[in-house]
């Protein structure tokens, strides 16, 4: 049987494969449960990025880059900020101030929920994309 260099780290690889889904799930929990407990978009983005960084450390940057291409990262970075801005613009179009979520839905409370949800999602996407780009940038300069 031919063993590739990376197959020497079998234990690490198997454990990593087991852990990564849970890291991502925890990030999503932190993202969408930030209204009720500690957490929010910023922390969730960092945790989500750490799943990809872990993958990159154990399986090599090449493999991670083929899963999550730099182009996707560049797009996600901008999408996060745009989602945030869009929420503000929509609330303006519906006749209130910029980023006043009261008017997003029929009921102010529901509007606030939707607004905070969208805004936190935007923060999370941007932070995750920037952190993974930082890692790519450092790791590919050798």
């Amino acid at each position: 049987m031919k063993l590739y260099p990376r197959q020497r780290h079998r234990v690490l690889q198997v454990i990593t494969k087991l852990i990564i889904p849970f890291v991502m799930l925890f990030a999503l929990y932190v993202q969408f449960h930030g209204d009720f407990g500690p957490g929010g978009g910023f922390q969730a983005g960092v945790i989500f990025a750490s799943a990809f960084i872990l993958h990159g450390l154990i399986f090599g940057l090449q493999h991670t880059r083929s899963v999550l291409t730099p182009t996707m990262l560049r797009v996600s970075m901008a999408v996060g900020v745009l989602l945030y801005l869009l929420t503000g613009v929509v609330s303006m179009l519906r006749g209130a101030e910029f980023l006043n979520y009261d008017v997003l839905l029929h009921d102010p409370i529901h509007g606030q929920h939707l607004g905070i949800f969208a805004v936190e999602l935007g923060v999370g996407i941007t932070v995750y994309a920037v952190i993974v780009s930082l890692f790519y940038g450092f790791a590919s300069k050798r």
Binding site: R6, P108, Q112, S133, F138
Partner: protein, 201 residues
């Protein structure tokens, strides 16, 4: 009890900081920096600032450590012995430190009733009492962050975005890297052995 816990944690911070300065081994320094953030996060938890603690643990102890390790893979693991005049350096560090400590003398004590949050209670009271009826979510930190101060958070997100753009333009991410110059390892990888050597295992 709470004061004692904070005192112990802050003492740990000082010990770790001294350790970082004294140690010549950069790898140990990076690990200690991560530990520093973790202890700081512990102190924030004791002060009931769980959101801040969460961020400190995730960014300070997690991501920064990894980025430092990545930076460390460009250089040696041992700090160069210093040849220059350390007395002058000590003088400037002492003066700067004294100025910083002098600056903190004007700050209200921890939990003091003279802090701006206590002497101008209207805003604090509004956030704490009206958040539930106006925003309708239990975590006041999130409602202040995302709704009352939504414009602030937008600015922060743009700052993060700008940082990302700056890194992309400085370090660059080539879309497709030629196979022959592809790096074998990401920083932090364990050393690999060539293919033929691995075959014998």
């Amino acid at each position: 009890m709470e004061t004692l816990t904070i005192m112990v944690l802050l003492a740990f911070l000082v010990v770790i900081a001294v350790g970082i300065i004294v140690l010549r081994d950069l790898l140990a320094g990076v690990v200690l920096l991560g530990l520093y953030s973790l202890v700081a996060a512990g102190a924030f938890v004791v002060m009931d600032a769980v959101d801040v603690a969460f961020t400190e643990a995730a960014v300070g102890a997690g991501i920064s450590t990894i980025l430092f390790l990545g930076a460390l893979s460009f250089t040696k693991h041992e700090q160069k012995p210093r040849g220059h005049d350390s007395v002058t350096a000590l003088f400037f560090v002492a003066v700067t430190g004294a100025l910083l400590i002098y600056g903190t003398l004007d700050m209200p004590h921890y939990g003091s009733d003279l802090s701006p949050a206590q002497t101008h209670p209207e805003l604090t009271q509004h956030f704490l009492h009206k958040s539930d009826s106006e925003i309708g979510i239990p975590n006041v930190v999130t409602s202040v962050l995302a709704s009352y101060r939504g414009y602030d958070t937008l600015g922060e997100t743009v700052v993060v975005f700008t940082a990302g753009v700056a890194v992309l333009s400085l370090l660059g991410l080539r879309r497709r890297r030629p196979e022959e110059e592809a790096p074998e390892d990401a920083p932090g990888d364990l050393p690999t052995v060539p293919d033929d050597e691995a075959e014998h295992k």
